[in-house]
């Protein structure tokens, strides 16, 4: 691959999307990078813009949502400046995605093997024979039992976990530089969830896969991510290495998320929740969007938008509190 280690494989700068009609922003000023072989986790509540982020990167935004600003650069190739066709060319080759709902993400009337073969033939120029052989290899790689039999199965003949493995095989068929996984385990039951996570970790180890892993489950994040981005109401709340997120969270929202994880060891108490709800699109504040729910809010929080400031070398938070309720001087690009 052409990427050098010091250079990110994916770089997103100032990505902003808005509803086409009302111009209400869905995502605002999202910036982050993924290094080769790195797993970046994205966490947030429902409605925080996680899935929109994934679709924006794929160039698959629904027509009601537009990207209004920002650059997306994949391995030196600026997708946002090229044509829609160029982006399409990139999808299924350099950029692949697995979705939340394995039950509906596969074509019900096409054999699963063919759905893998399709990528190999149409996007990577394999011949029919080679493609079938490679599809078998991929099904084996994603640990589908007796792949020779399953290759000609229809999706309805497979369980949810198996279907998600097929989806992963389809994504890997592209041999992507970056794989985006949008809540790939949410729809599965817990044991299958653990198996799929193991599989993704194995693929990452063996293939050096760069992964953007979206979830609302902090437990899953702890298991797989190197770095974590916390989204709140379409804005980045915090971004930091996974250990720092769990050990020294800076944003009150991150702290509240961590506090809401039930403690399985100590005495049982009431579940900790965060009061209030994520604001709806179109009714969002320009100032700190978490301020209505924040126990630490000051007057500045209700007046100004907190920029993403560097708290330490690799941890940044969009909050005035770590800076003594002053504007942070340094903002991350």
């Amino acid at each position: 691959m052409s990427a050098r280690l010091d250079q990110p494989i994916l770089s997103v700068q100032g990505l902003t999307t808005a509803l086409a009609r009302s111009h209400a922003t869905v995502l605002e000023d999202i910036s982050f990078t993924i290094a080769p072989g790195e797993v970046v986790g994205v966490v947030g509540e429902s409605g925080s813009g996680k899935s929109m982020l994934a679709l924006s990167l794929m160039g698959l935004l629904p027509s009601a949502v537009r990207r209004t600003a920002g650059r997306i650069v994949l391995d030196g190739d600026e997708l946002t400046s090229g044509s829609a066709d160029h982006w399409r060319e990139t999808r299924g080759r350099d950029l692949a995605m697995i979705f939340q709902e394995p039950m509906t993400a596969l074509n019900p009337v096409m054999r699963v093997g063919h759905q893998v073969v399709e990528v190999l033939r149409r996007r990577r120029g394999f011949s029919g024979y080679e493609a079938r052989k490679e599809a078998l290899n991929l099904l084996r790689l994603v640990e589908i039992p007796s792949p020779e039999k399953r290759i000609s199965a229809y999706p309805y003949e497979l369980s949810g976990g198996m279907r998600q493995r097929v989806m992963i095989a389809i994504a890997l068929a592209a041999d992507p530089k970056v794989l985006i996984a949008d809540e790939p385990t949410t729809a599965l039951d817990v044991t299958v969830q653990a198996q799929i996570l193991d599989l993704l970790r194995k693929l990452r180890r063996e293939r050096g896969l760069s992964l953007l892993f979206i979830t609302h489950d902090l437990g899953v994040i702890a298991e797989i991510a190197d770095r974590v981005m916390v989204l709140y109401a379409g804005r980045m709340a915090e971004i930091a290495p996974v250990r720092r997120i769990f050990d020294t969270p800076q944003h009150p929202y991150t702290q509240a998320l961590l506090a809401s994880i039930p403690d399985m060891k100590g005495p049982r108490g009431r579940l900790v929740t965060i009061d209030g709800a994520v604001p709806a699109i179109g009714s969002m504040l320009e100032a700190c969007r978490f301020s209505p729910r924040c126990p630490y809010r000051h007057e500045i929080c209700e007046r100004e938008r907190p920029p993403l400031g560097l708290v330490s070398g690799d941890q940044a938070a969009a909050c005035f509190r770590p800076f003594g309720y002053e504007r942070p001087i340094e903002a991350v690009s």
Partner: protein, 314 residues
């Protein structure tokens, strides 16, 4: 799959038994005496009685019914007194005419309807969609007999492209057959084109919103590939059902169109039978239409299983 087919076959058989029972009952349900159709008003009671005996109308109903079933399982639909020949032979003779008319109309309806529906769905809410939907509504609203007459006036009488009516057998003269059949088949198809186009559009729009279409898009497939390889095969499943309904409607419609274009098909035979109370012809025609309709739906069921692997399980 085999079980599925057996179930359908049994269902079809039951329907056929019921239809033949209805066909048999026509004589008893319709007011007036069947013999009055064949004898003039001045017929003596003796003449009527002898005709009733000849037709078997004087025997108990149960006996008549058993006889009727005994005959039709042998393919004997009775003897038309007006034509003075076997009804089965008359239907078989006219069968190719009606089948080529309804068959060609079915091809037009499905091909044009599906194409128009895809165009509309792909350009959802843009001008091609509106044009297609307006034309489809027009096609659905225009009475076919009126359209047939207008087409005859324009293309046959004024422009002379096609004959005003009649039929040339396919085996005798292909060009003549095509010239005779295209306009009636088109006329017959117009309503169904509109129907199929609307159904295809709705079905495609629903499918294009499904998750697996987004998966196909994420694979970086071209838009046409997504539509034809992932969209259409799924959208066609409900359209197949529509195809069965359309085929049935076309057979019914053929009766009128054969009249408008003076085509000597089964439809005209049946209308002739109805107008002159030629009961064996009416009964035979009814049974014949039912058999065709059931066969078409059986074919649709089989195609259903071909198109949708999930059906094969049930």
């Amino acid at each position: 799959m085999a079980q599925f087919l057996v179930k359908r076959l049994v269902g079809s058989f039951v329907v056929l038994v019921l239809v033949s029972l209805m066909a048999f009952a026509i004589i008893w349900l319709v007011p007036g005496d069947p013999t009055s159709a064949f004898l003039d008003t001045g017929a003596t009671p003796d003449q009527i009685a002898s005709l009733r005996q000849q037709l078997g109308l004087d025997r108990p109903m149960a006996v008549q019914m058993l006889e009727w079933y005994g005959r039709i399982v042998q393919g004997d639909l009775g003897h038309s007194i007006l034509l003075n020949r076997s009804v089965t032979a008359a239907i078989i003779e006219r069968l190719p005419v009606t089948l080529s008319l309804a068959g060609l109309a079915l091809v037009f309806a499905v091909v044009l309807g599906v194409l128009a529906g895809i165009v509309a769905a792909v350009h959802h809410n843009k001008w091609p969609d509106q044009v297609v939907m307006t034309l489809a509504l027009f096609g659905l609203s225009v009475p076919d007999f009126w359209l047939g007459i207008m087409l005859i006036l324009l293309f046959a009488v004024k422009l002379g492209f096609f004959p005003t009516g009649g039929y040339v057998p396919f085996s005798e003269d292909i060009v003549g057959w095509a010239r005779a059949i295209i306009m009636p088949a088109m006329t017959l198809a117009v309503i169904q084109v509109g129907f199929v186009a609307r159904m295809t559009r709705a079905s495609m729009l629903e499918i294009l919103n499904q998750d697996f279409i987004r998966t196909a898009d994420a694979k970086g497939l071209k838009r046409a590939e997504i539509m034809l390889r992932h969209g259409l095969p799924n959208a066609l499943i409900p359209i197949l059902t529509v195809g069965g309904i359309v085929a049935g409607a076309l057979l019914g419609g053929a009766v009128i169109i054969e009249q408008v274009f003076s085509i000597p098909g089964v439809g005209r035979l049946i209308i002739g039978g109805i107008l002159s109370r030629d009961y064996p012809v009416i009964q035979g025609g009814l049974l014949f239409l039912a058999v065709i309709y059931l066969s078409v739906n059986l074919v649709v069921d089989i195609l259903y299983a071909v198109a949708d692997p999930r059906v094969r399980l049930e």
